[in-house]
Symmetry: C2
Subunit: 208 residues, 2 copies
């Protein structure tokens, strides 16, 4: 699987292809033409052919794409053939929503632990079987557990404060919901979901 | 305020400028040079000048940008000088997280009502004072209340099923958290937050 030189725009489109291919598989559809995929996804057929040809000739003239094969190959490119250990930092409502969504686990993202400044607030409880630990135990926890991804669902100040602990603890990726950018070394990837900014983009579009 | 012909890429960057300018205001900083803003935002000074000049000469040579003025003008472009009425459809954990986040209200996004297929599940309760109504009342509710934005925090099937009701009810924008695209007329704007896709982009980046 050659995936060098693939543009950021194509990478950003891959999860959407993956989603549509998953729906096709659920519907028992085994192959699909670029024209039909184009109609469903509301993307030009030429863009589909261009994007998918980058991964090496999955489509065959007059036959179309093999749905299961393409789904699997795109999954591999996205790293979904591996599994990842996650921790969630912040057991507030957003942290609870993320921790209790089973869909991530299905894709290989296992939430191993949840941390909160005040775990007593949640009655020493667990969320869907995952225990909530005091935030002060995070450093020690990361010494003994290999964690791939930390999910930050705390306010901006707390997110910036906890980031060096996460980085030192060997975490490779941060899924950041805090309303701030984070300062990390090149070895750590930050993927941010800025909800307020998304809502502002919606208000812009409503007005223009 | 001339904002025609502004590219989508610039629009996508505006909320981030807005966030940084808000932090500067909180810190009591009244003016800032493009060089200093560049250092803080980790964007080239020439991009900053290019982006902000589109809105007509806010920067002055040797003086820099007037933070409060720029903040206000970008806010206007984003439509944040107006207020918006919202409903949240889906009172699950994500719906609760969105409904209880006070930061949106501060920006003029007022959540007027929450709808759920099974409001009894939540004890006929309200979230931060906002009442949860049965989903079957949505159509009638929209006849009597002007709602600008509907937030969808329901599964994909339910999101597609409720969309025609929302569209007929005169809603102008949909903030969609469901793992599906939505079919709407041109008069309605959909802004999607696909959490699974964001996590897949993170796993891609961790592996490359």
């Amino acid at each position: 699987m050659e995936s060098k030189g693939i543009s950021k725009a194509v990478i950003n489109r891959l999860p959407r292809y993956y989603r549509y291919l998953g729906v096709l598989m659920d519907q028992g559809i085994e192959r699909i033409s670029s024209a039909e995929l184009s109609r469903r996804m509301n993307v030009t057929a030429s863009q589909i052919r261009q994007d998918l040809n980058l991964f090496g000739g999955f489509g065959q003239q007059g036959y179309g794409y093999n749905v299961a094969h393409l789904y699997e190959e795109i999954g591999k490119i996205l790293g979904l053939d591996k599994s990842y250990s996650l921790i969630v930092i912040g057991a507030g409502r957003l942290g609870q929503a993320i921790s209790s969504y089973f869909g991530f686990e299905k894709r290989g993202f296992r939430i191993e632990a949840i941390f909160d400044r005040n775990p007593d607030k949640y009655g020493g409880a667990s969320i869907r079987g995952t225990r909530i630990y005091p935030l002060e135990d995070l450093k020690e926890y990361l010494k003994h557990n290999r964690i791939d991804i930390a999910v930050l669902t705390v306010p901006a100040d707390s997110a910036r404060a906890v980031t060096p602990v996460i980085v030192e603890g060997g975490v490779r990726g941060i899924w950041n919901f805090a309303h701030t950018d984070l300062d990390v070394p090149d070895s750590v990837t930050v993927q941010s979901v800025h909800l307020s900014e998304s809502l502002m983009q919606l208000s812009y579009k409503i007005n223009h």
